[in-house]
Point group: D2
């Protein structure tokens, strides 16, 4: 369990930090302004696009993909500190072609798609030429339980016909979004976790209608966005099914682990930036004749933030190490732990940073309200806290149900 950076990772970190210092941090305000000013909300933000070739040139491209020649060949543990850095500026992940849901979709295609589909969808995704979307959550059912999903995928000759309604289909707002991975049921009578399948649906397939883009805490997250999508008699070739009928749940499981750990690492970076902002603001602002930085309550929160962040980072690195060494399935306990811990921590730290900024904290001048929106939403995305804690609690209890009783939790 060695969390030190290998020389390879250390070099990538240095390069990434330098890139952030040179290109991301100084353009953060510009990015915000460009995005805010766009009247056609769903067009790419110029500064993001302008930086992509630079990132690629700097060798900071597709860093996320483990066990593949297409990415940087990093393990989860190696990728973690890089994702943390990207997380400080939420828009920056895309600059490095490391943004959700494209990362998860690329990984899914890399693992489960045919060569033909890889050529058609994975290649341009890796090149950053198209974007993609993952359509799983449904408005009408509690989708944290995937067995509730109602979208139907019905075989009809050489095709599958898809009917259903999805929402929170992130990334669908982008005009370059060309491919959807859709989860639905092929056999509602099958065993509980064999009913679901995943299928590739090109965006321009007839019957696909984007009903609306969802606001989140008042933000539209343009040009990425979160869509509500109607699938009406959408017909795609049978070969578009991934891995085969009834394998959807299995693919989802494989996909969710990395997705969650990426979210958590980015949330840690986000919290670090909020803490930095809290410190800087506290040193500058002087209500009642002395800087906030001299007030006990503020100092206490800064200290507590440092503790919360450091604890959470180590827990996340630990989960990454477990994923790398025992596999995503066995490491589901550790993944559940960070999925609960990181967003909660980030919400707390950002909330304190907001408070230290007063009225400026809830408007967009510092971006803290937007950062809070990200962290708060993470407590729901990929399953709400309650579901993960329920599973985690049950796994802990199970240790003591066994005939041969366990010892209390042991040191790592």
């Amino acid at each position: 369990m060695d969390f030190s950076h290998s020389p390879k990772v250390a070099a990538l970190r240095e390069r990434l930090l330098a890139f952030v210092d040179e290109h991301i941090a100084p353009n953060d305000h510009l990015h915000h302004e460009q995005q805010a000013a766009m009247t056609d909300r769903w067009q790419p933000v110029p500064i993001t696009e302008a930086l992509k070739p630079k990132a690629r040139e700097a060798g900071l491209w597709n860093l996320f993909l483990p066990e593949s020649g297409h990415g940087a060949g990093l393990t989860n543990l190696e990728y973690a500190p890089l994702a943390e850095i990207m997380g400080r500026y939420p828009w920056s992940s895309e600059v490095f072609n490391c943004s959700a849901p494209d990362t998860g979709n690329m990984e899914t295609l890399e693992r489960y798609a045919t060569e033909e589909h890889k050529e058609r969808w994975l290649k341009p995704l890796l090149a950053g030429e198209i974007r993609s979307c993952f359509a799983m959550t449904e408005p009408d059912v509690a989708s944290s339980d995937a067995t509730n999903i109602q979208t139907r995928i019905v075989r009809d000759g050489d095709h599958y016909v898809i009917n259903g309604r999805k929402w929170w289909s992130s990334g669908a707002g982008d005009p370059r979004c060309a491919i959807f991975i859709v989860m639905g049921k092929t056999d509602p009578e099958a065993e509980k976790h064999k009913q679901q399948s995943m299928i590739l649906v090109p965006r321009d397939t007839p019957g696909v209608t984007i009903k609306r883009m969802l606001p989140v805490f008042g933000f539209d997250d343009a040009p990425h966005g979160h869509a509500e999508i109607l699938f009406e008699n959408v017909r795609v070739p049978a070969g578009n099914i991934l891995l085969g009928e009834g394998r959807g749940f299995e693919i989802a499981q494989g996909r969710l682990g990395p997705g969650r750990i990426h979210h958590c690492m980015r949330a840690i970076g986000l919290a670090e930036r909020a803490l930095e902002m809290m410190c800087r603001r506290s040193l500058e602002r002087r209500p009642f004749g002395k800087p906030l930085a001299d007030q006990g309550v503020i100092i206490d929160r800064i200290a507590q933030s440092r503790i919360l962040i450091d604890q959470c980072r180590l827990l996340t690195l630990h989960a990454a190490w477990r994923m790398d060494t025992v596999g995503n399935k066995v490491a589901r306990t550790e993944i559940a732990e960070i999925k609960v811990a990181a967003p909660d921590m980030a919400c707390q730290v950002i909330d304190w940073a907001i408070q230290a900024h007063g009225a400026a904290g809830v408007t967009e001048d510092f971006g803290l309200a937007y950062m809070y929106k990200i962290a708060r939403t993470l407590r729901i995305v990929d399953g709400p806290d309650e579901v993960h804690k329920f599973q985690l609690g049950r796994m802990e209890l199970n240790k003591y149900r066994a005939p041969r009783n366990a010892r209390p939790g042991e040191s790592v």
Copy 2:
């Protein structure tokens, strides 16, 4: 300390509840849609306007104004349960001409303006024909300490000339907003709390520029809005000063008490509605085969919400009763208590309600993210929690500094 409803209040409550049932609740979604659909963001929302005459006709108009023939003649304690009901649907306060900052501005004009100014500004405000704005907070200083304010109000012959920059000037977005009450310094050399004055500035006075409307958690709060305003050599007649030079702090103190208690009562109503939504959703939603309402964590939060709300309501009624009986100045302890307690409570209850709604909780389909924005912002508006707690803590400590030592806190 009798918190029961007098027959007069009981009758008003019944009428108000009936109006909400008939006109507000069923139009909540329509209001949201109309507002969301407006391309010119700063026009009145039709349903709000359509309901105003009905409210007036129902005798539900200007209920807030204490000790005045213009309002309903209610004490703070009497108005509290009515404000709570309005708070359930944040947009409804305006329907009853009871929305901030107009209420505070009307009260200020009623108490301190000349007859001429009352005729010109108070009368149309009471009639709901114009809107108003209170310009106090400044972006460049920690305005929670009013002595930091930098806007200058300089006498020049028969006029005052105003220079400064304000923000969070709520209500300035509304095209009907006709009058600003501006706080600034007339004498920066005077005693600390005699430097400030308040002055009336008609919106169309040359030199008044609305620089931008501030987003709050991504929301623009249109058509009301929160403005950043530049005052450049703005010249108004000397008679526009309220009460006289150096009286600004005094007016602010008188104004803030009622403003805070109104906010708190509305926050309680907001929390009640969030709790209702949490209950209804929990009864309907069935992840993992049984309703959320059967899950212990949810039940526990619902119980805790009931406790938190009930405690907070009683504390607020108590503060109202104190304001009515000992005056706003002596009751500043009690006002500080609720200013901290109510927004914090509302944030917690709404956050739990969001969680119970899953992905739907952070989008606008249920309005919960918007409700959270209101409650969260209240922790900063009119002074952040930390300032109120600092004062409250000092007042508590002072009890034991006196030569003759106090007893521990006594029952009310």
Copy 3:
């Protein structure tokens, strides 16, 4: 809902406060010393005994008993502020013959015992000549659910024969404890809430064995104490049953409401004293060159304590008022609210006071650790928080199960 003090209560409060100032506060340390020094732990503490005649003489005796000529004839709402004052010094309740479980036992006897039993047990209890015990909780089952109780009470001719094991039988340590009220099952086959009965068992009845006195957080609570008691073929006359077979649950319900509200009022008094101690200590103690009272974190906690206490007191007065006006059964929601809120609040305030006292906070020099023990134990006594919150949450949810849907919670 008038929480003001009637002239009668105001006069009692003045008298009680004067008595506390003169006799209780100055003897607090002496009481602690005398109790600590007793080698025979189970003898009355001299100062307690010395003050009883003074309290009786001052008309401060048996203040608790509502609707009875034996007490002061106070409603719950009237008794509440008096109980709060007694709660500041936990040992003082007994000085006024107002300590648990005697209060509950006296009320039970007053309501449900025969004249003969009143003469034999109630009279000397009212006179403070004997003490009593309530034996309900059992070590082997989760007694928060009274239907779990296993003690058997079996009719045998003119007698009942009792077998079972009880613990947490508070007050049994006192050598003057003469009478137990025992809860057990007379008919395990009856309807769920008709199985239980209560019966009077004189302490010296053969077969009653005190197995041990339980320590609580290391304290023995001598001379009162909490006993584990074995009942082996304990035979008492059939007339000792209270109200009749199968009425035990009903008696318990009637008894628990007042017991809980007394606990809560005392917990509020305890928290007030902890807050006073925190303030005084903070003014005196100067680590790092300035008094704790100038440190932001301490001031913040003092403010928060004031808010928490005031909220909780109002909630408790509200519950008392409900008990007085709608009866204990209907007011069970309000009783559940305070049963959760008051101990939790007291734990928090006392914990902060401990922290402000440093090492002195956890030893007995200031009594804070003992105060914490009281408050912490109250989160379990008479049903753990979780049970009350479960019931409270269900009651809230039930409002929305009805065919005619409720409005959100309304102002009191």
Copy 4:
């Protein structure tokens, strides 16, 4: 930063776990009974003494001492998982001669004492033949700020004369306690951190009076105990001073780091055992017809406990690794972090475990109240949380005071 167990540590852990399984866990109840039954409170507990030779024989003796031939030669990181295991049963540390304050005292002697003193005091301490005490805290001043210390150590010819009052001198109750390390001021006029010295005082030196043993949450912690000690004209040879006059603060700093990390590791073990007990109890106990383990609130707390413990363990291992690699002084940030985090975490987990045990949780049948006492006291011992957080917050703020501004916190 490799937290894996080296083969040496892995072997020690296996041996230690086996010893705990065979000798400690099965005797936990016996230990409690023996201790509770001792009328002479200050005699060694037989089972503890009986196990010491076995531990020594098993090679589980003096495991704590880093960089020394006397101990097991373990780094802090290597010792951490062993301390965690000992922490599960608080009395077990002494069985392995690894209990505070003897560990810290042995380390201090090893580093700073003369050969003569090592022979006289360190040797029998290492052999477990005598016990020792560290006298630093004073009742009259806030000792978390060591500059407040008032005890005087005055040179008088070949001797030093000590006058002062100490308390919380842990271990002084043990009749085998033979040597005190006393902190006092040799030069109150010197530079702030050069005023203090440490000096060896044999317990039987004239003028040393143990005034009383302090109860902690009602517990006496016999036979170890926490003493209040009066030093009146206590005269010891000048050579008894450690390292030289004015070096006391420096020694304290060196000593406190390891002391704190040992406390934290043991607190983690304690929390693990509390979690185990919470799980086992929840599986057994069935209020209201189903096991606690099926109730959502309990499951949620178990999950949260798992997260809290795992986070905190990793943070502690990280601090140990920093101490080993950059030294205790540079690692003071990390030590401050765990000093705050671990006791707070343990308090929370144990509190939940208490609640799951109901009435049994606050008595001594399960030892949970005693475990809580340990964890709660740790929030004060070696400096209260507030002091550590103040320093931690300042260090974080300092990053941004520098002319060359820092980046936000970086991944480890």
